[in-house]
């Protein structure tokens, strides 16, 4: 959208009246047209941050919210010109689908002809043409959230704010609506802030992901950054599965009860790696002799729980088609390039 702007949070913290600190002072710069996902477990401060951007909460004294250079800290939400989508849809039950979508235009006093045109535009964009006159309670969850998106976008907002919009939907619907939201955000080129606790949603939609923990931004970066180069243990554990093994350093190798792992010159006593980076190898070269504890055949891949001795277990994922049986020994290794080191 032409009127979309970047968002800047400067020193925005939030302490609630009862003294709980929901958000530490954070700084965040979101570029115009960019989608930033705020990702974290419940209580990490992601929703509070979104509500501060929206204008539904005031930051603690000293915090500032800027939309494209304009200081909007003191503006209430109704003057910020944002679009917002809620987990519970928050559609008005007393209005039809078309009236819901037109509501933002109605309070702006847009004339009837223009309003009708804009509503029709939104209905066809969200594939809701035949639903215009429906009542809200006649819609499925997925349809409701599409109406909510249409309603938020109808006013051509400067930024779009989405608060766990897919959480209330079942898995299948979630995926198709996620694709639809992705298509919208790309085609409209609108600045969007998307809150979720679901990492696959974050990965799929975010240009950048801000992983949040205890009111702080633990790391912000592209999905690839976050996944392959987690900055902290929290990020490493929260995004995907992460294996962690300890051993003793032996030159460029790590020595474990079940064998040796080639680490390279940066060798440390503890290394981390992803399940899909575990490779099953021939018994030549440095490798670990792992015992299969459990093998779960999941169709497109097999998930193995492997025992490395010394009470260390790891998860491995392989696309190999052979059958794995608990108790069997498999030689495995991890490429040095896939190993991570965190303090």
């Amino acid at each position: 959208m032409d009127n979309t702007v970047g968002i800047r949070l400067a020193g925005c913290g939030k302490t609630f009246a009862d003294g709980t600190r929901a958000l530490e002072r954070v700084d965040l710069d979101i570029n115009p047209g960019e989608t930033v996902v705020l990702l974290g477990p419940s209580g990490c401060g992601k929703t509070t941050m979104l509500r501060i951007i929206a204008g539904l909460e005031q930051p603690d004294a000293g915090g500032r919210v800027l939309f494209g250079g304009e200081d909007v800290t003191l503006l209430p939400i109704e003057q910020r010109h944002v679009g917002m989508v809620f987990q519970s849809y928050a559609l008005f039950p007393n209005m039809s689908v078309a009236e819901n979508i037109a509501y933002g235009l109605r309070v702006r006093g847009m004339d009837a002809a223009q309003k009708k045109q804009r509503v029709d535009e939104m209905l066809s964009m969200m594939h809701l043409d035949s639903f215009a006159e429906r009542q809200i309670d006649q819609l499925s969850g997925g349809q409701r959230q599409r109406v909510a998106l249409a309603r938020a976008l109808a006013v051509r907002p400067r930024v779009l704010l989405l608060d766990e919009p897919l959480t209330a939907l079942d898995a299948k619907l979630r995926e198709s609506l996620r694709a639809e939201i992705d298509r919208l955000l790309r085609s409209l080129k609108i600045t969007a802030v998307y809150v979720t606790h679901d990492q696959s949603e974050a990965m799929a939609l975010g240009d950048r992901i801000a992983v949040m923990d205890h009111g702080r931004i633990a790391q912000i970066g592209s999905p690839r950054d976050i996944y392959y180069r987690p900055a902290t243990r929290f990020v490493a554990d929260f995004i995907g599965s992460m294996n962690r093994v300890r051993g003793s350093v032996e030159g460029e190798h790590l020595r474990l009860a079940s064998g040796r792992l080639h680490v390279g010159p940066r060798v440390r006593a503890e290394v981390l790696f992803r399940p899909e980076d575990v490779r099953i190898v021939d018994s030549g070269g440095a490798h670990l002799q792992a015992r299969i504890v459990n093998a779960f055949f999941l169709g497109d891949h097999t998930r193995l729980i492997l025992d490395l001795g010394d009470a260390q277990t790891i998860i491995a994922e392989t696309v190999e088609r052979r059958e794995f049986r608990p108790g069997d020994l498999v030689p495995v290794t991890v490429d040095a390039a896939a190993l991570l080191f965190l303090d």
Binding site: A54, L56, P76, I77, E78, Q79, H81, V82, G83, M84, F86, S88, A90, L91, F92, P93, N94, Y103, G104, V107, R108, R151, A152, V155, L161
Partner: protein
């Protein structure tokens, strides 16, 4: 189909209880249209008593309707915003307020009336006007309005609906009239019917507060029982029934949740 003795026992009991409740009502209505109650039906049926009541007491009927509507107006103006504040600000004080609201219902009407007279009795103009009764009725009915609206507000996610409306640019006034009021319609209507019904039938407080010139329907009813023929009192009851029963039916209809009504309709259409 054969039924157990137990069924007939229950049926008999139910019929007996119904008769216990309904017979006095029927008798009262009959008395109101009988020429002479002591002779009985064979003395003939007449509308004479109803006409007589109308000529004697029509003023009380109009005053009752007037007070009921005024009470409704005041409880709407005070009760709906009060319920909104109580619903949006959930804290210790608002919960206290909610509890306190029941007090006028729990305290005997006579005590409420006495307190009003002690406090305002000296303001003569106020004491002898119908607005004195209005104050008593508002005190008594306001909790019903607030509770009824509050119940609906608690059932919908008011806060998120308001956040959504605000995000679309709606000012507080617009949010209140476009979103909050329409979505509390059910509770407001139910509360309104309750208030009108209670105000029309209120006796305890009104009896203490009224003057010979500000007699409401129930007070007039007591007056006619005390000083007129039994037939006139009974005819008066008929008029009261005619006014109050449609309200009661509407209230019953309102108290069913809408989806139950929709289902019932669907069943009817087969």
């Amino acid at each position: 189909m054969s039924r157990s003795p137990r069924f007939y026992l229950q049926l008999a009991f139910t019929v007996l209880v119904c008769a216990f409740l309904v017979v006095p009502v029927v008798l009262s209505i009959m008395a109101g249209v009988t020429e002479n109650f002591f002779i009985g039906i064979k003395s003939g049926l007449t509308l004479r008593w109803v006409v007589e009541v109308w000529s004697l007491y029509s003023k009380t009927i109009f005053l009752s309707i007037g007070i009921a509507l005024a009470t409704l107006a005041v409880t709407l103006l005070i009760g709906v915003p009060a319920a909104y504040v109580l619903a949006r600000r959930q804290n210790r004080y608002t919960r206290w307020m909610e509890e306190l609201l029941v007090l006028p219902v729990a305290v005997p009407g006579l005590a409420t009336a006495l307190a009003l007279i002690l406090l305002y009795g000296q303001f003569r103009g106020f004491r002898i006007s119908w607005s004195f009764i209005l104050v008593g009725h508002v005190l008594f009915t306001l909790p019903f309005m607030v509770r009824s609206v509050l119940a609906v507000m608690g059932a919908i996610d008011l806060k998120t609906l308001e956040d959504a409306a605000a995000s679309l640019g709606a000012s507080f006034t617009q949010r209140f009239f476009h979103v909050i009021l329409p979505n509390c319609r059910q509770g407001i209507l139910a509360g309104a019917l309750m208030v009108v019904t209670l105000s029309m039938g209120e006796f305890n407080i009104t009896w203490m507060l009224h003057t010979p010139l500000t007699m409401t329907l129930p007070v007039g009813l007591a007056d006619s029982y005390a000083s007129m023929r039994l037939e006139i009192g009974s005819a008066y009851t008929i008029i009261f029934f005619i006014m109050i029963i449609p309200l009661l039916v509407a209230m019953q209809w309102m108290s069913e949740p809408p989806n139950v009504r929709a289902r019932a309709r669907k069943k009817q259409h087969g």
